[in-house]
């Protein structure tokens, strides 16, 4: 953020930089910026892990990590923007007449260029990281595709139904065996719904006469919520059910209880 060089003696760039960082406004803005960056780094580490639900699948783990890393990428940006804003806010002019004119800085080529390069690089990091995450999850899916258990999910105003074609079971609760990849084949019989097993970190729309896919591997035992994330009419809010990730043995027992056959 260098500008306003009122130095006539043409000092070396190093000397100019030293002089720049000795200005009280620069020091104060920098201190504010560093503090704000640290606050965001700490918040980034805490906020999502605090509020997001239990991680119950590989996908959910990747998502939470991604939220944290993105907050860290954004933290220095917040530091720069808010550090400068806070300094000028505290250094305000009060009174009923306009303040005296500031320096007539029209632009500063290196600053504009530097800012553009840095924001582009940050965006590039975010893009590369996102694409890597996206691909690694789909590669993992492809690897497990063969032994994935198929669950046909049907959205119907305002009920979810789950069918396990290989096991001959139908249910309104989503039971899954732990550590086994599962492929959801999602469709709807009426309007658009969005299939959202919250703690599993996957979501895909249910469209009439079309089949959409989502897949994940549950990694933790326990109950989870299944919701609808697309406004689907009157009782959209109540279109929810529960599911459970169970051990292989418990799952097999459940399948037999439901009148199905284990593979």
């Amino acid at each position: 953020m260098s500008e306003h060089d009122n130095v006539d003696l043409k000092p070396t760039p190093g000397a100019r930089l030293t002089k720049f960082f000795k200005r009280s406004d620069v020091i104060q803005s920098t201190i504010f910026g560093v503090i704000i960056t640290l606050v965001f780094v700490i918040l980034g580490g805490k906020f999502y892990t605090q509020w997001m639900p239990t991680i119950m699948s590989t996908d959910m783990k990747a998502i939470e990590r991604l939220m944290v890393v993105f907050t860290w990428i954004a933290a220095p940006v917040c530091g720069v923007v808010l550090g400068i804003a806070l300094y000028t806010f505290l250094n305000r002019h009060s009174g009923d007449t306009p303040p005296p004119d500031g320096p007539a800085t029209r632009t500063n080529g290196p600053v504009v260029l530097g800012w553009s390069v840095v924001t582009s690089l940050l965006a590039l990091v975010a893009v590369i990281y996102g694409i890597t995450e996206m691909n690694s999850s789909s590669i993992a899916t492809a690897k497990h595709a063969e032994d994935a258990m198929v669950v046909n999910v049907v959205g119907n105003q305002w009920v979810w139904s789950f069918e396990y074609p290989e096991l001959g079971v139908q249910s309104h609760e989503l039971m899954l065996p732990v550590n086994r990849p599962v492929a959801f084949h999602v469709t709807s019989v009426d309007v658009n719904h969005s299939f959202w097993p919250v703690q599993l970190g996957v979501k895909v729309d249910a469209n009439k006469l079309a089949e959409t896919l989502a897949d994940t591997t549950p990694t933790k035992l326990g109950e989870f919520d299944v919701k609808c994330a697309e406004l689907c009419g009157l009782y959209h809010a109540y279109m929810e059910t529960t599911g459970e990730v169970m051990t292989k043995a418990d799952f097999d027992n459940w399948v037999i209880e439901q009148g199905g056959h284990t593979a």
Binding site: E3, A62, I63, L82, I84, K208, L213, H236
Partner: protein, 620 residues
């Protein structure tokens, strides 16, 4: 325009006694509109059986469009073209009369071609829409204060969500370009009026006819679809959906007219010497915004025409049973929907950029970067629409490319931050109410931008899509950034529009209540979203109780804050401190004209020799 110019000096008292235009106003418009509507409904109901779903839709849609046309006939919108067609064009006196010369408050209820009158009409139209939309938001938050609360039924709730959404979207699209784009912008560029004054009046009154149509949705069973109106839910919806469709189509016509008019004005009517690099940044922002609306809204209109055909003629564009698909609707909608958020945002940003130099007394930092930022956002905004459809299952292969284009938008957005920060740097800001808006804008836009980064990312969006997190994110950008910019613009230009200063203490109190309430409201909503609460739900599980309660408290603070602002606007209109000609010491042209602004704005056309940001002690 020449006919008006000839009368500047002498200003004869217009006396077009025998002309029809003297007898027409909004009242006659209402009467003719209602007659048209009733006649259409009664006539069609005789031939078509209104108990049949699609025939009923035909009748209702026809009634709504005929109301709109009837109102425009009744207010005299077509007198000019008809007189021209029959070879008796309006006389100079009649044109002067149409501009509302010397008619006091009556001209605000007429088909008035004066851009300043149209600006005030837009201002009150926007205030009314924001008030209604805000009241709906308060009802939504009241319902959501507690889990299991039965304050309103699911049916009413869904309607409220849809009506709140579309009312606020329409209001925010015109919140800056309507009032300030019409009142201030022509003066800012040194023009005597808009390029097409009659089209200007038309754009407002066409929009006006959409308001009763939208209100009628409430009495026709509401809009159960949210403002996105996704098919096939919209096909399944009841008769209230017709009101939504008609509103959008009428609104699209209005924005097309206004967009063409504003663009033409800026391109052709700038003062002598106002080259492109001397145009005030607000004018650039408003022009970019309406120019972006010109390609965007027709697809919205098209999607609504197709929905209307599916509903009225059972065509099945979006019906999977006969080979249609809801994905088609989603595409048409978001091809409009994403540029549309920048149509809303850019004028707000431009107002902020107009305000900063004045209150910091420094030139706008890197005018070029501002232009490049606007151009970059505008260009990229038409390439990102499918990021709303990552999880729709439509084409997962294309999620990657859309993610790249979306995240690229952070670069031009970064330039916008740079321009504002660079202007603040080394300055001592004069913290009047408009300047406070700049700080609120910076914080809100930062939060909105960063949360947008998570949402632009495919894996994260897999979790966040359709949750309260999304709702909080876009309220930060649309309300926190764009509306804050517009409110800053209101307090900045209020003296020029009314001749009085906006009540300062009230607007300070309002500012802090609104902004603090805003942070509380949406912090709660971000948490609810992260916890996994879907959006648009009338009820929720116990686990989200705390975050929702926090949100509701914040919402009430915002509500009270805006009521105080509304009081200040009404009170100061007549009783505020008399404003000097240039209360902020700004250098743009609108501050060189007195209040009330003369009919043709400038006694002598201004000549511009530099850009309006020549502040600073030592220009190098």
């Amino acid at each position: 325009m020449t006919t008006l110019d000839q009368h500047v000096g002498t200003r004869p008292i217009p006396n077009p006694k025998n002309s029809l235009i003297t007898r027409l106003n909004a009242g006659t418009g209402l009467i003719v509109g209602i007659i048209f509507a009733i006649a259409t409904y009664q006539g069609l109901a005789k031939v078509l059986d209104t108990s049949v779903y699609h025939l009923h839709n035909q009748v209702l849609l026809a009634t709504m469009f005929m109301w709109s046309i009837g109102f425009l006939v009744g207010i005299g919108a077509f007198i000019g073209p008809i007189r021209w067609l029959i070879g008796k064009d309006l006389t100079a006196e009649e044109q002067l009369y149409m501009a509302g010369d010397g008619q006091g408050i009556k001209r605000y209820f007429k088909y008035c071609t004066d851009h300043k009158v149209v600006g005030i009409q837009y201002l009150w139209g926007v205030i009314a829409m924001l008030a209604v939309g805000g009241a709906m938001a308060m009802m939504i938050r009241t319902d959501l204060a507690n889990p299991g609360g039965h304050f309103i039924t699911p049916s009413v709730y869904n309607s409220l969500v849809g009506l709140h959404g579309i009312t606020m979207i329409v209001a925010l699209i015109i919140v800056a370009t309507g009032p300030f784009g019409n009142f201030i912008m022509p003066i800012m560029i040194g023009a005597a009026d808009m390029a097409f004054p009659r089209l200007n009046a038309l754009s407002w009154w066409v929009l006006f006819t959409a308001i009763p149509v939208l209100c009628s949705a409430w009495f026709l069973g509401g809009i159960p679809t949210g403002w996105t109106a996704y098919a096939p839910l919209s096909i399944q919806a009841g008769p209230g959906m017709n009101a939504f469709i008609a509103t959008i189509i009428i609104f699209a016509v209005s924005t097309a007219i206004a967009g063409a008019n504003i663009t033409a004005t800026v391109v052709t009517m700038r003062a002598k010497g106002m080259t492109w690099n001397r145009v005030p940044i607000f004018v650039i922002g408003a022009t970019v915004s309406v120019a972006l609306a010109i390609p965007a809204f027709p697809t919205f209109m098209l999607s609504m025409i197709m929905t209307a055909m599916d509903r009225s003629f059972l065509t099945g564009f979006f019906d999977a049973n006969v080979g249609g698909t809801g994905w088609l609707y989603a595409h048409l909608f978001w091809i409009m929907g994403h540029p549309e958020v920048y149509v809303i945002l850019i004028p707000g940003v431009a107002i902020i950029m107009e305000v900063v130099p004045v209150f910091v007394r420094k030139p706008l930092f890197s005018y070029t970067a501002a232009i490049v930022g606007f151009a970059g956002i505008t260009g990229l905004s038409i390439l990102v629409w499918a990021h709303h459809m990552y999880i729709s299952g439509w084409m997962p292969m294309l999620n990657g490319p859309f993610m790249v284009t979306t995240e690229m938008i952070s670069v031009p957005t970064g330039l916008i931050f740079l321009v504002i920060l660079g202007t603040l740097w080394n300055g001592k800001p004069w913290l009047k109410v408009p300047m406070l808006g700049v700080y609120a804008f910076l914080w809100n836009m930062l939060v909105g931008g960063i949360t947008g980064l998570y949402l632009s990312d495919v894996p994260a969006d897999m979790y966040l899509h359709g949750s309260m997190y999304v709702t909080a994110h876009f309220h930060y950008t649309l309300m926190g950034a764009a509306l804050t910019g517009a409110v800053a613009g209101l307090s900045y230009w209020y003296p020029k529009m009314t001749g009085h200063m906006l009540h300062e203490r009230a607007s300070y109190i309002s500012f802090w209540l609104v902004q603090i309430g805003f942070q509380i409201l949406y912090l709660g909503m971000f948490i609810a979203g992260a916890e996994g609460q879907p959006r648009r739900v009338v009820d929720y599980a116990e686990q989200f109780a705390t975050s929702n309660m926090v949100s509701t408290i914040g919402a009430y603070a915002i509500g009270i804050g805006f009521i105080i602002l509304l009081w200040a606007v009404i009170h100061s209109w007549r009783h505020g401190k008399i404003a000097p000609m240039n209360p902020w010491g700004a250098k743009t042209l609108e501050w060189t004209v007195p209040y009330p602004v003369p009919l043709v704005n400038f006694d002598t056309p201004p000549v511009v020799t530099s850009d309006p940001y020549g502040y600073g002690r030592s220009a190098k």
